[in-house]
Structure formats: structure tokens, C-alpha cells
Symmetry: C2
Subunit: 443 residues, 2 copies
């Protein structure tokens, strides 16, 4: 004898790639989800202005609705899935939905990074939940890991590869020796990068996700604007190649670590030792390494984008909202509450790390001495030097050679100071390249 | 203004490595846990016969109790943590605790693999929860991923490295060329293997975990006895080395996959391509790869054993029981219910895979022809052959050489039949070695 199903009315706002995939998951997997959860998840509305994609996917026209008001006033609807994206319209929709006492599930990382605590506070005031597993790491249940599975831990550090487009481009540069431009063009041709890839390659998308993940990991309010962000768009093949030779792979990392005097947050291309599990994450995959004081190193790996994986995360949030588990976590754990204290975010220069430095110099006597003297004066000690001979037949200007230096641990602001001095003294003929080297946490 | 705390009374049964670490976590992290969860987790009893370890850890003697009855009759206690281990006593304790309407948190994989559905059914009848995040993968929240984060998925396959002792031994064999015996001795000296390592190296511990993980992943009842299990104790260095040369690493894998006509479950040492993320899991770490129909490949990585990581999982279960989220999941999702249908577990021979075969033969003309003929007769096609020359000065009997064959995909029973025929015809001078090659799932 089967127990009675619980009916859950759902509306999806926005029918793009993720909205369409979520609609299909709810419709095609209805029986599977009923069997697994005892819930009858009924998609009642797809709200959009344009239904071209919905029609292409064969979705029933009865679902199409252009007015949000209809959904807000329908007592059958208990969960609204916001997949409009962007900031202002999405924010307005979410606020209206929460005020109408509907649970909201969203994948909107940009909006959460900007206005997370305010929106979550509004949800709490209205005794509903705002769930956002799909905002980071696509199908990887990383939000749950931070809020639930790792609850016993004081999180000490978090390292994420959280943008599949960038990781795909970097993998092509590493494995095939492609230039950034060629790798980007390939990614665009393969549908792995958007025509306008700015948000991805600039590192901003990773910064949005870092703001969310770090807020949850450290239980503090993160100021997105104060996260130093460097993208992959200036990365040169030469450095990728030198890194490989030194035993490193380059990754766009979103990093948050708890230091004595505050949190160090940053997004930048960095070298990782080949021995670190994050070095193995290739192509469009994402992974997040989390270091807890009890667990030590744990890592979560999977597809960080795309319709189906993201739909998986959205449906898991729908189920949690419907079962009431999200409400309990949300209420009791004070997830990302507006009452949590503001993080003390350390300025860029405070980070201590090893560094990869590349200088382009004229191949004359005494140049290396000047470089090492400037580094030494700033308290930076050198671990190794690599000077590559440039064959005469290469297109490169004769006499201009790269000098690569790997430092021991140093404070970033000291490194920047040394580089500034070398630039000012015209010891180098191009701006030096400076990349962090992320070492494997011993734990 | 701080909201009122909720007081939760806790008893730990068994104060070994994990029991001691859990007690310390509850005591030392009391403030941290209060801040994160709003719960005041009060450890009131440690029940054991012997308190040597508890005393060594500096635990307060007021906690020590030898009679379970005292705990069962104490209305302050709402959660009992069973860390006695083993089958009969632990089962008796858990049953008594559930009948006394206490939530039970356990790390006892052997007991769950044998009696999971019956115990979970008893818990349901008594309107309490039996939580077991710590039973598999130590600090990795894999049980939560399967029951919650991946709920939207039909799981198609699961590949786990779930025994840290075995993975450490295999890593030593691969990286340092050690023999199984030497690597085991090293693991024992370093505290990474028990004096009696039987449960680990035989593969049985992995089988227990596989029974639990597969029950949750597929929502079916798994018969532990019907899982074919091969340990690492017969693995020869020669095969580890040949595998490396062919681009594979050997791992003790717990595998469950959904085939057309049933579930294929097995534990065995197998070769994995260096490109598969599981190949990168080295030393005492664990990882579980899960393939869902929506997410594709996801993987969960971390320390699979040890006091602190396991205590992290136990405390997360204590928090979930106290908040009521476990109760909701447990009630609604019918996790591992005794009403779920029995899995149709396929016999060993039905698995289709590529195979690594090593034959020891006398180095005479025509031997390779006989081997390939026998394989061909059983419909097995050959992908590559590796015949290593044995230098005369080696200790090995002159004229006896290894022939390594990698097959294309073949049904295991056909491979076994071919090997049996070669053995019977005395073409080979030792029992052939046969290892599965696990290819990366394309998704």
C-alpha cells in the first residue's frame, strides 16, 4: 500500500539552458522523483517573455505564462525557481516571490554575491527558504557539504576551480600548447565559452562563487568588491610552458584562507604542484578543496555548469524545500544571516606564498645580479632560476630573453615592491609576470 | 540578543580511537558547534568496560559509565553514538537504544552491511533515526551526497576507493616498487594498518562499505554475501609494474554498476587509466566516484579513516538528528527501507570489461599462438601483447617468462573459461593473473 503523495506546485522563471533543463528534469523524471522522495513535483508554470527555447524543447504550451503576478497569486505554487539571471530583474522577482511566502530556489551567483544576506534575511522574515545549491559548482553538492556535511569543522581554507570555461581553456593551453586566443576560440566553437566570455575569463564569475562559498565556509559576510580578481585573459603560453617544466600546472583558483589577522580571499591564475588533487581537474570540470580542522583535506569534483548538472542541484533544492529540511537548516544554522559579522578581508599584499616570476631582459652581463639584488633587498629569497636560450631563428627580438625565478615563501607586497623597483630602474624590458604558487596543504 | 540554546544530551558507547576523538570533538568544540548550530551538545556519558584510552585522553571521569541501562533510562539523553564495533554486542546495544526511543549514530559498517534494513526498520517503528555518515569514507559526506545532494539522479555507477589501508599499501607498491609484504609491514609500522589487517586487505571492509553505498545509490536491498570480493593480499609487484608501463595504476575498487539485467557489484584490485580521477587518489585517502544520469561524473575525496575525520562525520549526524533534518529525510525518503526490493545481483561472470592477463610460460615456440587461440575461441579479442625479456642473471628460472595481454571488452565468464582451458592444457606454468581494467566513464 503506497502512502499518499505530497503535491508540490512549482514555477520556473526563465526558460534558457538551465530553465529548460530543469523543466525537462521535473517532467521526465516525475516518476523517479516520486519513487525516491514520495513527492509529486508538479511544474505548473514557466514564466518568460520568449518561449522559443521552451517550444524547441517540446514543453507543453499550457505551462507558458508571461505574468509573474499569476504565479504569485496561485496558492498551489509553493516553490519558485529563479533562472532569469542578472541582477535587477532577478532581484525584483525573488523579492516578490519571498514576500508572497514562496520558497525560492536560484542559481543566480552574481545576485547572491551582491545581495545574499539581504535576500536571505527577507526569506527568513517571511518564514520561507532561499536555496542556492545550483549557484556554485553545478551538479556538485558543495553548498550542502559546507552547511551540513562539514558542520563539525572550523574551515581553514578553501581552494576552488569553479569556472569550467576557464579550466577548459587552460587545459587546452597546457595539453596542446595553444595560445590563450586560440584556446578561447576553440572553447567558443565547442559551446564551452560564450560569445562574450568577459564574465568568465575576467575571473568575476569565480569571484561571485567565492563570495558565496566563503560566506558559508567562514560564517562571515564577504564584501565582493574587496576580493582581488585577476582573470586568465592576460596569461601567456610561455608561462604555462615554463610552469609545466617546473612541475606545475596553471589553474584559475578562487582561494579563501583563514589567516591570523583575517581572511585572505582572491581569484587569480596560479601554479599548483602536479601532486595536488586540484592539478588533476581538467577540461570543463570543477572542483573545490576544503580544509576543515577535523576532516583535513576533502575535495568535491564534478561538472560545474551545463543544463543537466545544474538542474540536478536545483531539483535537490526543490526536494529539500518540499521536505522541510532546508527550512530547518536555514532556520537553525543561520546560514549567511545578515546578523553574521563582516569578514576582515586582508589586502592583496598580505598573502604569503611562493611566487613564479618571469622577467624579460636584454641578454647583457649583470642583469641577473640586478634582479636578485632587488629581490634580496626586499627580503625575498630565491629557490630556483631558469634561463631559457632563445634560438636566433625565432621571431623574438634578438637579445631579449626570459629569466624565470621561483621564490621561497614571501609576502606578496614585498614581491610587488621589488618588481616595481626593477621596472622603474628599466632592468626589465616588459612588465614582469608574477604568479602565486599554491602548495599542497600538508594536512 | 542571543536566542535560547537547545540542549542535546549525548552518550558515546565505546571509547576507542573514534569514540575518544568524538568525545574530544564534542567537548573541545562545544562553543564552535554552539555558534554554528545553536545547539548545546552535552556529552553526558561514555559507556565502556575499560577507560584506559579515555583516561589517556584526559576525559573527565564523571562521564564514565559501565551500565548501558543508566543511559537508556536517562530522559536527558536523546542521542546515542554506537562506536563499540563488531556485530553482536553492537547490534544488541543499537536495538536497545532504538527501543528506548533514542536516536542512534553509528560508524559500524560491518553491522550495517549485515543488518542495515532490519535496524533502520526498527528505528522507523520507534520514530527515531539511525544515522551512519561515518560508516563510509570517514570525513567525506558521501552518505549525504547519495541521499540528499544527488537525489535528482538515477545513479548508474559508483566506483569507490574506500579502504585507506589498502590504498596506502598499493601506493607504496606503485611509487616505491615495494612488494606487498614490505608495503604492509611499512603500513603497520606507521599505524596505517592493524596488526591483524585481514578485514582490510581481504577486501571485506570495502565490501561492507559497498553494500551500504550501493543500497543508498540504487535504493535496493543488497546481499553482502553475494558480492564477489578479492583482496590485495595476492597482488604481485610484477603486475603493478606491468600496469604502470601500460599506463594504469592498480587500486582496490568497490564497484557497483547498473546493467540492463541487474546490478553488478564487486570488490577487487583493478587497473585504472592514469587519466581517471580515481587514479590520483594516493596514500591513505579515499574517494568515491558517482555517476548520475543528470550530474554525470562527480567525485568525493578525503580521509577515509582516523579519529578526527570520522568524528567530523559523527558530529554532523548528531547535529542533523538534533535539528530534525535526519528525521525528515529518513521518514520521507525511505532510506534503505526494509520495504525496498531486493537487488538482482549479477554473478561475477556477467561483467563486461577489458582485462589485463599475465601468463607465465616456458619460452618455447608456439606458446603465444596457443594462448591467443584459446582466447579467440572464447570470443576475446586482444588489444596488445607485452612480452618482457628476463635477463639471465635474474633469479627467475631460466626460460620462464611472463606474457602480458590486454584484451578488448569481454565478458568475464568467457575470459575465465579461456584461462581454465589454458591451465588444463598446461600451456601456462602458473595460475594466470587476471585483473579488470576500469575505463573512464565517458560522461
Amino acid at each position: 500500500m503506497r502512502k499518499k503523495h505530497i503535491d508540490i506546485g512549482i514555477a520556473i522563471l526563465g526558460c534558457g539552458t538551465v530553465g529548460g533543463a530543469t523543466a525537462l528534469a521535473l517532467i521526465k523524471d516525475k516518476e523517479l522523483l516520486l519513487e525516491k522522495t514520495g513527492l509529486s513535483l508538479n511544474l505548473k508554470y514557466i514564466v518568460d517573455k520568449n518561449f522559443d527555447n521552451a517550444v524547441k524543447l517540446g514543453l507543453n504550451k499550457k505551462l507558458f505564462e508571461t505574468k509573474l503576478g499569476v504565479v504569485l497569486n496561485d496558492p498551489d505554487i509553493s516553490i519558485i525557481v529563479e533562472l532569469v539571471g542578472g541582477l535587477s530583474v532577478a532581484k525584483d522577482f525573488i523579492e516578490k516571490a519571498l514576500l508572497a511566502k514562496k520558497h525560492v530556489v536560484t542559481a543566480n551567483k552574481a545576485l547572491l554575491a551582491h545581495a545574499g544576506p539581504a535576500l536571505l534575511s527577507l526569506a527568513r522574515k517571511n518564514h520561507v527558504t532561499l536555496a542556492f545549491e545550483a549557484s556554485c559548482g553545478g551538479g556538485i553538492p558543495i553548498i550542502r557539504a559546507l552547511c551540513d556535511g562539514l558542520i563539525a569543522n572550523r574551515i581553514d581554507a578553501l581552494y576552488g576551480i569553479v569556472n569550467g570555461t576557464c579550466n577548459y581553456i587552460l587545459t587546452q593551453m597546457i595539453d596542446k600548447g595553444q595560445s590563450y586566443k586560440d584556446a578561447l576560440a576553440g572553447a567558443q566553437a565547442g559551446g564551452l565559452a560564450e560569445a562574450n566570455p568577459g564574465l568568465d575569463v575576467s575571473g568575476m564569475d569565480s569571484a561571485h562563487k567565492l563570495a558565496i562559498l566563503a560566506s558559508l565556509a567562514f560564517g562571515q559576510k564577504i564584501n565582493l568588491e574587496a576580493i582581488p580578481v585577476t582573470g586568465i585573459d592576460c596569461l601567456q603560453s610561455m608561462d604555462v610552458e615554463f610552469g609545466c617544466r617546473l612541475g606545475y600546472v596553471v589553474k584559475l583558483l578562487a582561494v579563501a584562507s583563514r589567516l591570523e589577522n583575517g581572511l585572505a580571499l582572491r581569484v587569480h591564475p596560479a601554479f599548483i604542484s602536479r601532486e595536488h588533487p586540484l592539478a588533476w581537474v581538467s577540461g570543463p570540470f570543477n572542483a573545490i578543496s576544503v580544509y576543515g580542522h577535523k576532516t583535513g583535506h576533502t575535495m568535491y569534483y564534478g561538472r560545474g555548469a551545463g543544463g543537466s548538472p545544474t538542474a540536478s542541484a536545483i531539483v535537490s533544492d526543490i526536494v529539500s524545500c518540499a521536505l522541510g529540511t532546508q527550512r530547518l537548516l536555514f532556520k537553525n544554522l543561520g546560514i549567511w544571516s545578515d546578523k553574521t559579522k563582516k569578514a576582515k578581508q586582508l589586502p592583496f599584499g598580505e598573502t604569503v606564498s611562493r611566487f613564479y616570476l618571469r622577467f624579460m631582459v636584454n641578454d647583457t652581463a649583470g642583469v641577473l645580479a640586478k634582479i636578485t639584488a632587488s629581490l634580496g633587498k626586499n627580503g625575498i629569497s630565491i629557490a630556483s632560476v631558469l634561463q631559457k636560450e632563445i634560438p636566433e631563428e625565432s621571431g623574438r627580438q634578438r637579445g631579449k630573453v626570459p629569466v624565470v625565478i621561483v621564490t621561497h615563501s614571501a609576502k606578496e607586497k614585498n614581491v610587488r615592491k621589488a618588481l616595481g623597483a626593477l621596472r622603474a630602474a628599466r632592468v626589465v624590458v616588459e612588465d614582469p609576470v608574477c604568479l602565486n604558487i599554491v602548495d599542497e596543504c600538508k594536512d
